[in-house]
Every structure is written in structure tokens, then in C-alpha cells.
């Protein structure tokens, strides 16, 4: 089984870590961008702030078109547990609230608040916490939520949800791995703001009370390791660990495995193995939110790749269109035959669909590779089953099988081979000699499976509703038939009790009644149907109305029963049975009236 706490502490202090299976060593290319300090940008003219920048649901809008906003003013508010607000990146006016191209590989437009800056950049009044150690945990968590913080490492999980933990916590892991090539935003942040990151960690420690804090930094960032060690040296249960460079060591599951040998169970959370992990940038943002009272409105973004003449790291406000960043980094168009801008790193980033794609909370890098730097993909060849892919898969999957089933759309099989345990790290496609875009197939298959499941759920529901409706219609029909049957029986009864002499008279009356009845039957059916429909309509409108309708209906039914009885007694007394159907009709009419 997994190593216990003491064993882990011992190995970490000796710097004898574990390893995760697979992994690759792509060229690092970090020096391209990590040589100079993080630069501040001038205020943009226009910002495009997507309302949803995390996993979960969007908050409720607080502003309208035309409103003036101040820097740091909340644009949305968190109403549901999984919603996280967003804030104005600068002061200015909300010009429009509309769908704008999203920071998503599909680029499908999403609701965004478009703000024209007034150039003043005036802060809203800040409300820092004077002493977080004396503040209740729930208030701190609420403030983290209100500051709009969600995981800044990649997935964008709402931080306040993660922080609201009641299970026993052994390791608070601070992720400064940054294993993707090219990206150096966390590297620079740790070098320049180690102290504030440490403050953020302190706040988390105060809230979460872990037994041990592990700050993990990949060994290709010696400067960051040093600054973090210095920042953490006074704290005895903070341990800064140097992790061997291997992609994807920074993946949450992989890092936990490297540091503790434990594996997060499938469909489980890190806390199930006593760990919680935060990205360094998230820690920085938490310190900002609590100590300074500043919401999350900017983040470090690496501008890198040979397509930039001056690659660097910048503080970019959320909502900045990448167009402006290209200008800041001196985009050199001659390096690219057709422009390609990658948001994120070369292994997991996505190509943007527009120059106006905004920077969001999870955007850590804009990579603009030269053509020969990261060549455009070639046509895939057939899989030669070389299993280079499974050798490098950190999740110990069989990518070639997943590929096979995903491509053949045998989705059940793909799921059987644990498709959903794939973390989409791209290691498999990186080594595949047939240059198959494996991860692309997995993503399509996953999307298909998800959509199909949703569809299935929907169609199941439709089936149930359809059957329910059928059953209801059937019941109504039966009720009607029952009524007629009773009436008919009553007639028969009256016939048999009557003497033979009256028979002719009765026969004549019957014939008359039949003719009349036939004429009226149609009318009756129509009226009844309409009545029922109305009842239904009412029933659906609101539950209490439904109750009402229900009682009305029973009344109606009882009335008709009564009328049938009346008829029965009348016939029993020798009256003409021909009266039967008008009576019935009247009852039906009454029924209609009652509604």
C-alpha cells in the first residue's frame, strides 16, 4: 500500500522522492522568457472580461451596460457554491454585455463584460483583513471566494470549494513545478514574489491546519528553489522540495505520486489521500485578497516562442485581448507562414480562434512558435502498435487501444480502457512515431461520451413522460368507458324489470334514443376532451392549482356518477330510458362549466 506519513516525511527530508511511470523530456526552452523580470503593462483601451473563467457556474451579473465601474469592482457575484465572481480590471465604463469569443479551443462566444478604460485606473476602496490569524475560517473562505480566486495552474477549480475542507489533511502541497516547456510565469513569480507566496501559504495553513507543507519546485528552476527556501526557512513544517524535471510532474495526480507515493483514487479527490494542492500563483492571489483586499484582476503571463522578438513575462489583466500582448512581445509575423497563437504551453495549450481572445484566470502563457520551432502537424499514419505511447503514459493507460476505440467510435470499449483517466497531458502524442494526434481523438471521444450520456438521460426522461402521458390518456378513456358501461347496465336492468307489454314502446324509444345519442356522442366527446385538456393545463401550471383541479375533477366525476344514478332510478321507475343520454350530456356539460 501507500507510504504512511512518517515514511513520507523521512524520504522528503532526504530528498528521496518517488517517481511516476512514463513521462517525457521535451526541450525546456524556459530561458527564452525567464531572463528578465515581470513587466507591467499600460492600461488597455478595452477589456473583454468573460463572466465565467473557471469550472462551475457563472455568477450573477451586478452591472448593466453603461455603468461606470472602478478597478476591482465586482462585475458578478457568487450565488451558488460553484460560482466565482469576476472583477473589473480597470476603471471605466461597461460598454456592452454580450457574447464574446471565449478563451476556449472552440472559441464559442460566451457572455462577457466589455469595459472601456477611462485611463484613470482608480481602485475601488479596498478592504483588507487586518489580521487573518484572528479572523474566522469561514470569513476567510468567503473572502477568497469574493476575490474571484480559482485555481490558476490550469483547471480553474474554485479555490474556496477546495479550501472548505473538513477531512483530515496531512499534506498541503504547493505546486511550483511548472513542467510544461516554455512557460516561466510561476518561475518568475517565485523568484520575485516568494515572500507574498509564503504569506498566501500561511493563510492556507491557518485555514486548513495541515500537518506538513510541501513546496515542490522542479529542479530546472534553481533560483526559484532558492528564493522559496529562503522565504520558508523560518517555518519548521514547511519543506521546499526539488523535484526531478520530467513532464508532466506538475500534474496534480503525478505530483502527489512523486511526493507521497500515494495515488488519488479514480473518481476521488486528493483529499482522499490526505493531500490538497495549490498552485503558487493561487497562493499569491490569496495573499493579495486577504492581506491587501485586492480581488484577482491580473496574473503573470509568459509571452514566449520564437515568434516574439522580445519574449518576457508580463502582468496581464484578466480580459486583455491577446492582440495587445502580441504587440508587447514584438510579434514577428515573418516567423510564421500562417499565424498560430497557443494559449498555454506546447503540450496542453490550445490554439486561439481570434486575436481578441481574452486572458482569463487560467491563461499562463501565450506561445507563438516559429514554423520550424514547433512544426505544423503532418498527416497521421497508421498506428504501428509500437507502444511508445504506453511507455510514456503517466496514468499507465494503453493509449494505442484508447486511440483504436476512440477512432472506431467504440466508445464503450474506450471507457472500459479507462479513457476518463487520461489527463490529456499529451505525452503519448508527443512520442508517437506515426504522428497521430492521439489526445485529439480522446477529447472527441470524451465529448461524444458526455453528450451521449446527457442525451440518454434526456431520452430516458422523455420515455418516462411519454409513457406517463399514455397511461394518463388510457385511464381517462377507461373512466369514460366505465361510465358508459354503467349506464348501459342500468338500462338493461330497467328493461328486464319492465313487463313484456311495454317492450315495443321501449324498442321504439331505444331507437329514437340511439339516433339522438349518436348525434350527441360526438359533441360530448369533444367537450369532454376539452375539459380534460383544461384540467391538465391547470394541473401543470402550478402544484396548488393542480390540487385544485384534482378536487374539481373528483367533484365533476361524482356529479356524473350522481347523474348516472339518477338516470338509473328514473329508468327503474319506468321512465323513458331515452332521457339517459341528454342527462349524461348535461352532466358532461356541467363538468365543463365547473371548470
Amino acid at each position: 500500500m501507500f507510504a504512511n506519513y512518517d515514511k513520507i516525511i523521512e524520504r522528503i527530508s532526504l530528498n528521496q522522492l518517488w517517481d511516476f511511470p512514463g513521462g517525457v523530456h521535451p526541450p525546456q526552452q524556459k530561458t527564452l522568457s525567464n531572463q528578465s523580470s515581470i513587466e507591467y503593462l499600460q492600461v488597455e483601451k478595452t477589456y473583454y472580461v468573460p463572466v465565467k473563467q473557471h469550472i462551475g457556474i457563472e455568477g450573477k451579473l451586478l452591472v448593466c451596460e453603461g455603468d461606470k465601474v472602478l478597478k476591482g469592482q465586482a462585475l458578478t457575484t457568487s450565488e451558488a457554491p460553484f460560482s466565482v465572481p469576476v472583477h473589473a480590471p480597470t476603471s471605466g465604463a461597461v460598454t456592452k454585455i454580450t457574447n464574446h469569443v471565449s478563451a476556449h479551443p472552440s472559441g464559442i462566444p460566451e457572455l462577457s463584460v466589455i469595459i472601456d478604460a477611462d485611463g484613470q485606473d482608480t481602485w475601488i476602496e479596498l478592504d483588507p483583513v487586518p489580521d487573518y490569524a484572528k479572523t474566522s475560517k469561514s470569513e476567510l473562505i468567503e473572502r477568497i471566494c469574493d476575490a474571484g480566486i480559482s485555481g490558476m495552474g490550469g483547471a480553474g477549480f474554485p479555490t474556496h470549494i477546495k479550501t472548505n475542507n473538513s477531512k483530515p489533511l496531512e499534506f498541503l502541497i504547493i505546486n511550483g513545478i511548472e513542467c510544461e516547456p516554455y512557460i516561466s510565469s510561476d518561475d518568475r513569480l517565485m523568484r520575485e514574489h516568494a515572500w507574498q507566496i509564503r504569506q498566501g501559504i500561511d493563510i492556507l495553513v491557518h485555514i486548513l491546519q495541515p500537518k506538513q507543507v510541501i513546496v515542490a519546485v522542479e529542479d530546472n528552476k534553481p533560483e526559484a528553489l532558492e528564493t522559496m527556501s529562503i522565504a520558508c526557512q523560518q517555518k519548521i513544517n514547511y519543506q521546499v522540495v526539488s523535484v526531478p524535471t520530467k513532464y508532466p510532474a506538475g500534474g496534480e495526480k503525478q505530483l502527489i505520486q512523486v511526493l507521497t507515493s500515494r495515488e488519488v483514487p479514480a473518481n476521488g479527490l486528493p483529499i482522499d489521500v490526505g493531500c490538497i494542492m495549490y498552485n503558487v500563483a493561487t497562493c499569491y492571489a490569496i495573499a493579495d485578497a486577504i492581506v491587501e483586499g485586492k480581488p484577482l484582476i491580473e496574473r503573470v503571463v509568459t509571452l514566449t516562442g520564437e515568434g516574439f522578438k522580445s519574449p518576457k513575462n508580463v502582468w496581464a489583466r484578466l480580459g486583455t485581448p491577446i492582440q495587445s500582448l502580441l504587440t508587447y512581445g514584438d510579434y514577428d509575423q515573418s516567423q510564421q507562414s500562417s499565424p498560430r497563437f497557443i494559449m498555454g504551453g506546447p503540450m496542453m495549450g490550445f490554439t486561439v480562434t481570434s486575436m481578441l481572445t481574452p486572458i482569463v484566470k487560467i491563461s499562463n502563457c501565450i506561445l507563438v512558435p516559429a514554423d520550424n520551432e514547433l512544426p505544423h502537424p503532418e498527416d497521421e499514419r497508421a498506428c504501428i502498435r509500437c507502444s511508445a505511447c504506453s511507455d510514456v503514459c503517466p496514468a499507465s493507460l494503453l493509449p494505442q487501444q484508447l486511440f483504436w476505440y476512440s477512432k472506431a467510435k467504440e466508445l464503450e470499449k474506450a471507457e472500459e480502457y479507462n479513457l476518463f483517466d487520461c489527463i490529456e497531458c499529451g505525452a503519448c502524442a508527443y512520442v508517437c512515431p506515426s504522428e497521430i494526434p492521439l489526445v485529439h481523438y480522446y477529447r472527441q471521444a470524451k465529448a461524444d461520451i458526455r453528450n451521449q450520456k446527457e442525451e440518454k438521460e434526456k431520452s430516458d426522461k422523455a420515455k418516462i413522460r411519454f409513457e406517463a402521458r399514455k397511461a394518463r390518456l388510457l385511464k381517462e378513456k377507461e373512466q369514460r368507458e366505465e361510465k358508459h358501461r354503467l349506464a348501459a347496465e342500468a338500462r338493461k336492468a330497467s328493461l328486464s324489470t319492465d313487463g313484456g307489454g311495454t317492450k315495443d314502446k321501449i324498442a321504439a324509444a331505444l331507437a329514437r334514443a340511439k339516433a339522438k345519442k349518436e348525434a350527441l356522442a360526438k359533441q360530448e366527446a369533444l367537450a369532454e376532451k376539452e375539459a380534460l385538456a383544461k384540467q391538465e393545463a391547470l394541473a401543470k401550471q402550478a402544484p396548488h392549482i393542480a390540487d385544485l383541479a384534482e378536487s374539481e375533477k373528483t367533484k365533476a366525476v361524482s356529479v356524473s356518477e350522481v347523474s348516472t344514478e339518477v338516470v338509473a332510478s328514473q329508468t327503474a321507475q319506468g321512465a323513458s330510458p331515452a332521457k339517459d343520454s341528454p342527462e349524461d350530456d348535461a352532466a358532461a356539460n356541467e363538468e365543463t362549466k365547473e371548470l
Binding site: V24, P26, P105, P181, K253, Q257, E263, V264, P265, A266, S338, P339, R340, F341, I342, G344, P346, M347, M348, G349, F350, T351, T353, L367, P369, L374, P375, H376, P377, E378, D379, R381, A382, I384, R385, C386, S387, S390, D391, P394, A395, S396, L398, Q400, E415, E416, Y417, N418, D421, G426, A429, Y430, V431, C432, P433, S434, P437, V439, H440, R443
Partner: protein, 357 residues
């Protein structure tokens, strides 16, 4: 008008494509081929050239017929490699039509009829080899003695002449070239021992033949060592994993050691088995053919080990002196089964992949 290009991550690739992998394997056979030329003459080179030409033409024509991108397919070098492996497996002076037929069969039937690269169930080179061995047993067993003990030597021109006409330029037949300095017809060390054992001699007595130098056939040892170097180069450059060659050689060595200890007169020693015949070539170059081998780490170990066992079993008790091709083909059939039962445990799961959900 500029265009924005979209693609799915990863945008990075280690830039080792199939062509490069296959080429590396081809290069790795060079030391072995050179050693072969040194000890046994130029025949092997002619076979290699013939095989490669046949393979490229066959594959090219089929690709044209199937309306595929011919050039791109040819550039994956898989046909070249299959041809090369077949060429180094057959006797160097076999007539030209033998290798042409064999290569054609490998490429057209075993590979393309199954759907092309990646879809073939059997190792093309070995399937071709077995087909040849069954169809043309005489030509396929006419091995030459190394020059040091051959009565006749032959030049490059002689070799070409012999492959195409059956006789050297000076009129010797292959049969005559097979005669050793002691005046008897030579065979391979494995053949020699097998025949001797059948005639009631012990292994040690068999090995007193002039073709032996202690445990190993003269020349054969060095050829095997040269291939071994090539194979180690492949492992070093991560073109192949150690699993298959490692387990294959280990299992062959263990089984032969066991038998040898049981009865040293009847069964040859592990070293004899390792360095005679094509066990080394088989372990590093043939069984490692990705398409038809197992794909999981555990599976590859089982796959390799089973081939090793089959080789020793067939060599000792089967009708043929060497057995790589049969062993590989037998295990090719078992690959789907092995793969299914050796799935690795996925991260965060308790059991094998398909067993829990």
C-alpha cells in the same frame, strides 16, 4: 489574407517518426551484415539489394492500386526493413528468385492483404521466410562455410553470378562452394549438431568438426556479436525496449541450461544456443517488430520469453535446426490474448484496466 491555424495539443513532437525509427533499425543491422560479408562473402549484400528493390516496387504498385499516397508510405521504410530482415535470414547465395518471391509474399500478402503497416498480424519477414523454407527447402538450407575453412573462395562478381545463374563466373555451383577444406559438404553449426545427434553422436563429438571453434561456429560467433552490438545500439537509442530481447535471451538460456545440466551429451550448452543460429538477430531485430509484437510491458516480457522457449524446444526436438521464424509466428498469434491479460493497472485504480469500472 492571413489564416489563423488551429490544431489540437500537444503542439510539440519529439520528431522521431516511423521512417526514422525504421531507418535506425536498418542502420543497426549494418555491423552484422559487414561481419557476414567478411566471413561468408558478398552474397548477403546482393540479397539485401534484391529484397529492397522488390519490396519498394511491390509496395509502390500496391499503394498506387489502393490510391494511397505512395511516396509518404514508401518513406516510412517499413517495407525496406522487412525486406532487409528477410534478406539477412536466407542463405547468401540463394538464387535471385527465392528472395524476390519471398519479399513479394511478405509485402503483398502478409502485410498489404491484411491492410498495410499496422494491421498485419504476422511478422512479414518471418512469414515470408517460413513460406520460402517450406516451398524451397534445398535452396533455403544451402549455407556456406566461412572463408577460413572453405575450399573455394568467391568474389563479389562470383556472388552476383551465382545468385543469378547458380554458378560462379568460374563455373562452380553452390554445392561446390559448400565444400570445406576437409572435402566434406558444410552446413550451419546448428545443422551439423542436429545431424550428428541424429546419427548417435554426442554434442561434444559433433563440435569437434572443423567448423567449430570451441563452442561456436567459426565466423558465426562474430556475426552474432556484430548483431548484438547493433541491437544494444537500438536499446540505447530507445528504438526498442529491453523487454523482448532480454526475456527472450534469458528464457532461451535458462531452458537450454536446464537441459544441458540434465544431459550434456544430448543437449548443447546455453552459450552454444545463444551464439549460433539467428537467436540474437531474432531477439533484437525480428521479435521486436512493433506491429506484430505484444504492446504492454508485461506482455512483451511474456512474448519474448515464450519465443525463447519455443526456439529451444524446436531446435532440440523439432524437425528444423533453427526456429526463430516458427517461434515468432506462433507467438504472433497469441499476442491479442497476451495483450488482453497484461493490461497495466491504471493510475488510481485497484485492478487491471478492464476489470473494474
Amino acid at each position: 489574407m492571413t489564416m489563423l491555424s488551429l490544431s489540437s495539443s500537444p503542439h510539440h513532437h519529439n520528431r522521431r517518426d516511423i521512417g526514422q525509427v525504421m531507418r535506425l533499425v536498418c542502420y543497426a543491422t549494418i555491423p552484422g551484415i559487414l561481419a557476414n560479408v567478411w566471413f561468408f562473402g558478398f552474397g548477403i549484400l546482393i540479397q539485401v539489394v534484391l529484397a529492397i528493390i522488390t519490396a519498394l516496387v511491390t509496395e509502390g504498385v500496391i499503394m498506387e492500386l489502393r490510391k494511397k499516397k505512395t511516396e509518404r508510405v514508401l518513406k516510412d521504410y517499413s517495407a525496406v526493413l522487412a525486406a532487409l530482415l528477410l534478406a539477412i535470414s536466407i542463405p547468401p547465395l540463394a538464387p535471385w528468385w527465392v528472395i524476390v518471391i519471398g519479399t513479394f509474399f511478405s509485402i503483398a500478402v502478409v502485410k498489404q492483404l491484411y491492410g498495410g503497416l499496422g494491421y498485419n498480424m504476422f511478422n512479414p519477414a518471418m512469414a515470408g521466410y517460413v513460406m520460402l523454407l517450406i516451398s524451397f527447402p534445398v535452396q533455403m538450407t544451402s549455407w556456406l562455410p566461412p572463408f577460413s575453412i572453405a575450399e573455394q573462395s568467391h568474389s563479389l562478381w562470383d556472388a552476383i553470378h551465382t545468385v543469378f545463374t547458380g554458378f560462379t563466373s568460374t563455373g562452380f555451383s553452390v554445392e561446390q562452394l559448400k565444400v570445406g577444406i576437409d572435402g566434406t559438404t558444410m552446413a550451419t553449426p546448428l545443422d551439423e549438431v542436429k545431424t550428428a545427434l541424429l546419427q548417435g553422436y554426442t554434442v561434444t563429438e559433433a563440435k569437434s568438426h572443423i567448423m567449430f571453434d570451441g563452442n561456436y561456429g567459426k565466423g558465426w560467433l562474430w556475426v552474432a556479436i556484430a548483431y548484438l552490438l547493433g541491437g544494444l545500439f537500438l536499446i540505447k537509442t530507445k528504438v526498442i525496449n529491453w523487454h523482448i530481447p532480454g526475456s527472450m535471451l534469458a528464457s532461451a538460456a535458462l531452458l537450454s541450461l536446464f537441459l544441458f545440466l540434465l544431459d550434456g551429451d544430448q543437449y548443447a550448452s546455453p552459450l552454444f544456443h545463444l551464439f549460433n543460429g539467428s537467436l540474437i538477430v531474432g531477439a533484437f531485430f525480428i521479435a521486436t517488430d512493433p506491429v506484430s509484437a505484444s504492446t504492454t510491458s508485461k506482455g512483451r516480457i511474456i512474448f519474448g520469453a515464450a519465443i525463447g522457449l519455443w526456439v529451444i524446444i524446436i531446435r532440440n526436438w523439432g524437425g528444423y535446426p533453427d526456429a526463430i521464424a516458427f517461434a515468432v509466428l506462433i507467438m504472433n498469434m497469441a499476442v491479442p490474448l497476451i495483450d488482453y491479460y497484461t493490461q497495466p493497472r491504471t493510475y488510481g485504480h485497484k485492478n487491471k484496466a478492464s476489470k473494474d469500472s
